[in-house]
Structures are given as structure tokens and as C-alpha cells.
């Protein structure tokens, strides 16, 4: 898993994405904001949405309360 470690903590790249998605962003905007390649953003978004840490609406992604909590805890 690229975003969530086996012990349940989140990876540095996931933290970057969750922080950037405090404001609703498209995958391309997230790639620009985090300096991660688009393929990694798309792959990570699937994982983070599935884990309930991000929410998708109209192809834009925003951090959920659970995601914010996890992001802050990892900082």
C-alpha cells in the first residue's frame, strides 16, 4: 500500500495529498500541489477514498474529517 502502512499510519506522500486536499482539488491540481506524478496521485486517490480519508465529488477530492485527523496525527 502506497498510502497506508501495515500498522495503520499514513505514508509521507499520503500526508502531502491529505494536506493539499483540504480544499477540493482535481487529480491534476493535486499533482501540481504535491509535486507527485499524476499516476501516483490517481493510484493514491483510490486507496485514500477506499479508506475513507478522502471524498470524491464531481472528479474533485477533499479530505474527510477522518483524513484530517490522520493527517494531523502524522505531522
Amino acid at each position: 500500500m502506497a498510502c497506508i502502512n501495515p500498522d495503520g499510519t499514513i505514508t509521507p506522500s499520503a500526508r502531502k495529498i491529505l494536506r493539499a486536499a483540504e480544499t477540493s482539488l482535481t487529480p491534476a491540481e493535486l499533482a501540481a500541489a504535491t509535486d507527485l506524478p499524476l499516476y501516483r496521485i490517481r493510484s493514491s486517490l483510490r486507496e485514500l477514498v477506499q479508506a475513507g480519508l478522502l471524498r470524491e465529488q464531481d472528479e474533485r477530492y477533499v479530505t474527510t474529517d477522518a483524513g484530517r485527523t490522520r493527517q494531523v496525527a502524522a505531522s
Binding site: A2, P37, L38, Y39, R40, R42, S43, S44
Partner: protein, 221 residues
């Protein structure tokens, strides 16, 4: 596309140029990646026989060296071999430790050979358990645009890979073809006329082209 042998093992043919590249979802050193994650960018999907082997190591160093040039061209790299993700991680860390070079692209851990079979990366005459040195160039629409196959003993030529990317992108942008040994900045081949009338027109007018005859004309971009 899959055929079934007497032992009921699926056998996949080679992918074909200008058709959609076979979709996949695979475990990589960057997590689970799908081909569709690369939509909108060019992708070089390449296989190598095995981690911790000498020719493969030289190739990974060479791919890392041209990585910035590929990125400038909007191209991503994705490696593959029939090794575990732990083997890939250990090998990449070893390369960095021994050479100082960080490999900046992910590698598929294709333990089940699922992706290798879809792309025809295994040449049983060479090895039944290792992938050959295959290169698949996939465009932003996920269409397979070029393939190169090298034997296990022969390391790939990075300049040729860059040249193919440049040629394909030039062809797409200007609707031209590229002659033998073409390099960026050199003259390109204009499409040959496809009617007798336009062939005659090409001979008479030349349109500023450098022509050997009606069917072989070049121009500077």
C-alpha cells in the same frame, strides 16, 4: 485474445501496434498501479529478466540517467520483472547504496506473470521464468505505439528509446513520417500522394519540398 492450451493455461499473443495497450492492475514499488493511471501521459513500460543481475543493473542506471529527458517529453517509466516487491525494493536500495543513483520510477512485481503474459514479455525459447528485455511505448490515449524486444544478453540503447519518443511525438504533431536514422532537427518525410492527380501535382509543384521523386519528399520543420 487469450487462447487455451491442452493444460488449460492461458496463452496470450503479442499486443499489436495502434491498438489499446492491454489494461492491468499491478503491485509496484509505488503501490498498486493501473495502466489507466497513466492516461494523458506517455508511458514506457519495460521488462527486465531479474533483479540483482548485471545487465539489468546497467540498464536501470541508464534509464535513470535519461529520466529527466523523458520527463521533459511528458513520458513516465514503469519497469517490470517476475520478482517480488521486496526483491525490487532491496535491489533499488542496493543500487543507490553502491552507485549513489536513486531509481526514480516504479517497478511492477509480476509474480503471477499476469502482465508479462498480457504483453508477450516471456519468450520461452530464451527463458520460461524470466521476462525478456521488452519495451512498450504507450501514448497518452493508452494506445500501443511502438515495441522493441531485446534478448537477455543485450542491454538496451537509451538513445534509440529517446529517438523513438521524439519521432512519434513529431509525427503526431506535424503529421509527417521520419526517415531512417532520423534525429530531431533533421528533415522529415511528407506523406506520399495517394492519387495519380496529387502525385502529378507533387512532381509539378514540389511545394518547397526536397524530392527524390513524387513518393519520396522531405521537408524541414
Amino acid at each position: 485474445m487469450a487462447d487455451v492450451t491442452e493444460t488449460s493455461k492461458p496463452v496470450f499473443g503479442l499486443p499489436r501496434l495502434n491498438e489499446p495497450a492491454p489494461e492491468f492492475e499491478a503491485v509496484t514499488t509505488d503501490g498498486t498501479i493501473r495502466l489507466s493511471d497513466y492516461k494523458g501521459t506517455w508511458l514506457i513500460l519495460f521488462s527486465h529478466p531479474a533483479d540483482f543481475t548485471p545487465v539489468c543493473t546497467t540498464e536501470f542506471l541508464a534509464f535513470a540517467e535519461i529520466f529527466p529527458q523523458l520527463r521533459e517529453r511528458g513520458v513516465e517509466l514503469l519497469g517490470l520483472s517476475i520478482d517480488s516487491v521486496y526483491s525490487h525494493i532491496a535491489w533499488l536500495r542496493n543500487i543507490e547504496e553502491k552507485t549513489g543513483v536513486k531509481i526514480p520510477f516504479p517497478i511492477i512485481a509480476d509474480i503471477t506473470m499476469d502482465v508479462a503474459m498480457r504483453y508477450g514479455m516471456i519468450m520461452p525459447g530464451e527463458s520460461k521464468t524470466e521476462t525478456s528485455r521488452c519495451v512498450f511505448i504507450i501514448d497518452p490515449e493508452s494506445k500501443l505505439r511502438a515495441m522493441i524486444y531485446y534478448p537477455l544478453s543485450l542491454g538496451r540503447n537509451m538513445q534509440e528509446i529517446l529517438r523513438i519518443i521524439d519521432a512519434l511525438q513529431t509525427s503526431d504533431k506535424y503529421h509527417v513520417a521520419t526517415p531512417a536514422n532520423w534525429k530531431p532537427g533533421e528533415k522529415v518525410v511528407v506523406p506520399a500522394p495517394n492519387t495519380a492527380e496529387t502525385a502529378e501535382q507533387r512532381v509539378q509543384e514540389r511545394d518547397g519540398y526536397e524530392c527524390v521523386d513524387w513518393y519520396l519528399c522531405k521537408k524541414q520543420l
